[in-house]
């Protein structure tokens, strides 16, 4: 009662990793990507929402592994909030060292950051050629294992970075139904994180005649850190890390949330979306409050999808999607 399905699933997934089910576990993959049952040595959570902040305590009380609750400031326009984020990165480093890690030398840190940056660049190039569903999978796969072969920038250059079985995405004039000549209705998907198995959302959208042309969920491209500045990286790698993450990712918890507003104001029109689906979990106040403003600021129809996280709830979701697209059609 009163608990966000994502937070609940996160805690359950940590406490019972072997019980991972297609539904009810936070994303490591958005479409049921295989995930091995690994008992984590620690959990890293952030203070960006009430539910996860409290869930960190819940996890600790339930006898879970060591928990690191990272303070991510809601404010972002002051030197103090930047300093706090940097301090938290250093504290996270100490936590990882206590778990058995070894502190990296500055050069080693730069090397790792450059490698990640290159792989992210490859990923960015990749997602532009994929359907939203495939892109979501690719980002999820990157989050799980950025060293997966298909994420290798060299491989990406040779093969386009696509998994062998992936279907090339045709951005235009894709029929929404095999028997229909009508184009699919372009939609923006905005909101919180998807969970393992939520790839069926994309499937349901396509089945209903829609097509996601902008994935603004928490696991999508919206929350990818900015490309690194190589010169600044050499001067102060940790500060560059702060800039790439804290300084660039627009999200709903920020105060003021103008960066998110600007991102939406830029990306939604550019995507050509004719409607917006807001994916939010019940008890997520931050995204719930964004729905009304999205309607006002974009002038587009908005479907407010309050997700309960259970299968019965998804059936309802599919029906609502179908109705929404019927109206848009």
């Amino acid at each position: 009662m009163g608990v966000c399905p994502y937070a609940r699933a996160f805690v359950a997934g940590i406490l019972s990793p072997s019980g991972l089910a297609p539904q009810g576990n936070p994303r490591g993959g958005s479409s049921g990507l295989p995930r091995e049952a690994v008992v984590p040595d620690a959990a890293v959570m952030t203070s960006t929402c009430d539910q996860m902040r409290r869930a960190a305590e819940w996890l600790a009380m339930a006898g879970g592994p060591p928990v690191f609750l990272m303070n991510v400031p809601a404010t972002w326009q002051t030197a103090a909030s930047v300093r706090m984020y940097r301090d938290e990165l250093e504290r996270l480093g100490r936590f990882l060292v206590r778990l058995g890690g070894s502190p990296p030398s500055p050069n080693r840190l730069i090397e790792v950051m450059e490698d990640y940056d290159a792989r992210r660049a490859a990923l960015r190039g990749l997602v532009g050629t994929l359907s939203a569903w495939q892109a979501s999978e690719a980002v999820a796969r990157f989050d799980l294992d950025p060293y997966e072969e298909s994420m290798d920038p060299v491989q990406a250059g040779a093969t386009g970075g696509l998994p062998a079985s992936a279907e090339r995405y045709e951005r235009t004039s894709r029929p929404w139904h095999p028997d229909s000549a009508a184009p699919a209705i372009p939609l923006a998907l905005i909101g919180g994180p998807l969970m393992l198995g939520d790839g069926r959302l994309f499937e349901a959208i396509e089945r209903a005649g829609g097509q996601v042309v902008l994935d603004g969920t928490e696991g999508g491209v919206r929350t990818m850190p900015a490309p690194l500045n190589r010169r600044r990286l050499r001067d102060d790698p940790l500060m560059e890390l702060v800039d790439a993450y804290f300084g660039s990712i627009p999200d709903v918890f920020r105060r003021p949330d103008s960066a998110l507003t600007q991102w939406l104001g830029r990306e939604v029109p550019a995507s050509g979306a004719r409607g917006i689906i807001v994916w939010r979990y019940v008890w997520c106040d931050l995204w719930a409050a964004a729905v009304g403003r999205l309607r006002e600021s974009t002038g587009l129809p908005v479907l407010d999808m309050d997700i309960s996280g259970d299968d019965a709830g998804f059936d309802r979701t599919a029906h609502r999607l179908a109705a929404f697209l019927e109206v848009l059609r």
């Binding site: 305590e57 303070n71 404010t75 997520c284 931050l286 719930a288 409050a289």
Partner: protein
């Protein structure tokens, strides 16, 4: 010794008010202490405050003053604006920014958050929830969404000249509602309050008011944030706001906290209970923002304290001795539920209305911003629930509580998880029975359920007493 003081209906309280006003009218100039705001509550009912008709009140002139003071805050704010004072709307921090604002003579501070009680007091007739709904803030949000409606209707408080809001480790409900307010064209000075954590081994740390310990780095962060608030207040006032002004304001705030501290100590420990739960709830709220008049807040609390001391001296309370002694966690959205506590045979014996940090004395032996930062970081809502639970247990034991009521706020995103954590810790470590309730702004439809749950807790407490006697 006489029987318990009667509880009054509003009509009876207004008769008592009439007597006080008549006595004041007949008194010689300079005699007595009956400020101009004192008047019958019936005038507020005419303005729509219908819940007042359903409440039971304490039978004292001190209560007359308390209620009149509370219900005339909007008039005071409008009068302040008319007099050329600048108005600060402090949001969410519950007890820090007003202390700073009242350091300047031409500023008045209040909490727009207080509008969360308007739907209760007006029994939903004011339409604030409907306006909030139209802004996309529906029932999934805590009743503080009424605040957004009040900014739209402008019918409840004057629009502040400066709005501040603490964010970070605060309720998402509040953060989301405040962001919606800003989107309506009301700029907000957001200041960060980080999630309080325990210091790591060897990390420099300081003790906060209330006994908690926090890393020095977190205190420094809050101090720098409050310095931004200080600059904004000084600019608004057009006056300097330095350490001397802040130190004086802290002393004044501590004077009020001292009065309230003594009132709480007596009201929550004396047997029989000398002051009802509802009036104590209102009194505690004065410590946060002084109800827009710091000096008068002190006078109101002084009169209440005098009444409590008189009753204790006379061995007289508001109910028979021996009532179940309950500690209350979180404020109720429906004020009437505090009456219910006593109707169920219990008495209030300690509280955590989410602002314990506003009850503790602000250190006077530190630089003022450092002292305020430490106080702000002691907010029970910005730290681990385990810290909050530990203080509840400590206070409950000190005050002799026998049971604990965790009152949830409907829609509040932190309440369900936090309530469960609090309950688990309190039951395990405190050894006290706990009952959780959810109280909506008008709780009448839930009255039988709430009564049953409180009855059950009271019965558990009384049964435990009998068991101890037998053993």
């Amino acid at each position: 010794m006489t029987g318990p003081a009667r509880r009054l209906t509003m009509e009876e309280l207004d008769r008592l008010c009439g007597k006080r006003l008549a006595a004041a009218a007949g008194a010689a100039p300079g005699q007595g202490d009956t400020p101009a705001y004192i008047g019958p509550l019936e005038r507020h009912v005419r303005d729509g405050d219908r819940r007042l008709l359903r409440l039971w009140y304490d039978d004292s002139e001190a209560a007359v003053r308390l209620w009149s003071f509370l219900l005339t805050e909007e008039e005071r704010l409008h009068a302040a604006r008319a007099a050329g004072l600048r108005i600060v709307g402090a949001m969410k921090d519950l007890g820090t920014v007003p202390v700073m604002a009242y350091a300047l003579p031409n500023l008045v501070a209040f909490y727009p958050d207080g509008a969360w009680w308007t739907p209760c007091v007006m029994e939903l007739s004011e339409g604030l929830f409907g306006v909030a709904q139209s802004l996309g803030l529906g029932e999934a949000f805590c009743p503080v969404r009424a605040m957004a409606g009040a900014f739209v209707t402008r019918a409840h408080f004057p629009i502040p000249d400066l709005l501040t809001c603490s964010v970070g480790a605060t309720c998402d409900d509040f953060s989301a509602v405040a962001q919606r307010v800003e989107s309506l064209g009301h700029p907000i000075l957001w200041w960060e309050i980080p999630s309080r954590r325990r210091p790591e081994s060897g990390e420099p740390a300081v003790t906060l008011p209330g006994g908690l310990v926090a890393p020095t780095s977190q205190v420094a962060m809050v101090r720098s944030e409050l310095d931004r608030v200080r600059v904004a207040l000084a600019e608004l006032a057009g006056l300097p706001l330095g350490d001397a002004e802040l130190a004086a304001a802290i002393r004044e705030a501590n004077r009020i906290r001292g009065l309230l501290g003594e009132l709480r100590r007596l009201a929550y420990t004396a047997e029989p209970c000398p002051m009802p739960a509802l009036e104590m709830l209102i009194a505690e709220m004065l410590a946060i923002h002084f109800c827009s008049d710091r000096a008068e807040s002190a006078a109101v609390l002084t009169e209440l304290l005098g009444e409590v001391r008189r009753r204790i001296h006379e061995g007289r309370g508001v109910m028979e001795a021996g009532a179940a002694r309950l500690f209350w966690v979180n404020p109720v959205a429906d004020l009437r539920v505090m009456n219910l506590l006593e109707e169920c045979g219990a008495r209030l014996c300690g509280t955590d209305y989410m602002f314990c940090h506003a009850l503790d004395r602000i250190p006077e032996d530190l630089p003022p911003l450092e002292a305020l930062a430490r106080t702000a970081l002691a907010d029970p809502m910005v730290g681990p629930s385990a810290d909050r639970a530990a203080r509840i247990i400590r206070d409950a034991r000190a005050l002799g509580a026998e049971g604990i009521v965790v009152s949830r706020i409907p829609g509040a995103s932190h309440c369900a998880l936090e309530g469960a954590v609090l309950r688990r810790i309190i039951e395990a470590d405190g050894g006290l029975p706990v009952v959780e309730l959810e109280v909506p702004p008008v709780a009448d439809p839930l009255w039988p359920t709430l009564t049953t749950r409180l009855d059950a807790l009271v019965e558990t407490v009384l049964a435990s007493r009998r068991k101890q006697v037998i053993v």
